[in-house]
């Protein structure tokens, strides 16, 4: 199959026809339709609110994890003073 279709001296549409195709209101509407479509099909990771919520959730999880870890660390690693007090008590 040929790649190109050559048209020699093809007649161009009249100015009236071209003017009849001009419709700025349609362009404004189309732009709104494209905008709505892009908004509806926007991936979640590009959603500012969703990402904000995920970051907040991450921060809360980290806080909870560290809150739970702190008492454990205290029991595992007793400091020198507490060891001295314990031996004196005995």
């Amino acid at each position: 199959m040929a790649k190109y279709k050559f048209k020699k001296e093809s007649k161009e549409p009249s100015d009236e026809f071209i003017r009849s195709k001009m419709d700025f209101n349609k362009i404004l509407k189309n732009q709104q339709v494209i905008s709505n479509y892009k908004q509806a099909t926007k991936p979640l990771y590009k959603n500012r609110f969703f990402m904000g919520f995920m970051i907040l959730l991450g921060v809360i999880c980290l806080v909870i994890i560290f809150e739970e870890r702190d008492p454990q660390e205290a029991t595992v690693k007793p400091n020198k003073d507490s060891i001295v007090v314990d031996t004196l008590k005995k």
């Binding site: 190109y4 362009i27 189309n30």
Partner: protein, 190 residues
């Protein structure tokens, strides 16, 4: 041919209109009115269907308006950006439809291309040579054909070609002459 070289003050005045339109889409109307016909004809020459050319032109302007907030002034005419969107839409249309890509030209334009390729032109063999030339054009890639169309069939300056193709003026010249050289070699081979 509707091509006209814009001065820097004209380009800057147009940029001021674009900035207004970026704030309020309704102010895009003067730019739409100014560029509708050149963009329509640009598409029509590559599609050759009036109604379809109208639809694609509407799509080009809708996409331009939707992406207008991303447009940045780089010293180029606003029309170069519109032609770029139009070229993308045309390529998208041919990719989907799998039809033969239409290339429109006048006899005069083809004669000019023929002269550029072969210095000595014999009037008797002109028709035969034009046929050979058309066969040679078949071997060009889509991008190479765009350069030939812009330069020879639409008579655009290298500056305009560079603006549309987003290359330097020098690069546009080099690419065009390389394509001419390639066409010359194909013709010799035939």
């Amino acid at each position: 041919m509707e091509t006209k070289h814009q001065t820097i003050s004209e380009i800057e005045a147009e940029w001021a209109l674009v900035q207004k339109a970026q704030k309020d889409p309704a102010l895009f109307a003067p730019l739409y009115t100014k560029h509708f016909k050149p963009i329509f004809l640009f598409i029509f020459r590559r599609i050759s269907e009036e109604e379809l050319a109208g639809d694609i032109t509407a799509l080009v302007f809708s996409k331009a308006l939707y992406n207008l907030h991303q447009y940045n002034y780089r010293g180029l005419p606003f029309s170069a950006w519109l032609y770029r969107i139009a070229l993308n839409e045309i390529q998208g249309y041919y990719r989907q439809s799998k039809k033969e890509r239409v290339v429109s030209f006048s006899s005069e334009a083809l004669g000019m291309l023929s002269q550029d390729i072969r210095e000595e032109e014999n009037a008797q063999e002109q028709e035969e040579r034009e046929q050979q030339l058309l066969q040679s054009l078949e071997e060009l890639s889509e991008e190479e054909m765009v350069y030939i169309e812009l330069r020879f069939f639409e008579g655009r300056s290298f500056k305009e070609i560079a603006d549309i193709q987003q290359v330097t003026e020098n690069n546009a010249k080099v690419k065009t002459y390389r394509i001419i050289e390639r066409l010359r070699k194909i013709l010799i081979r035939k």
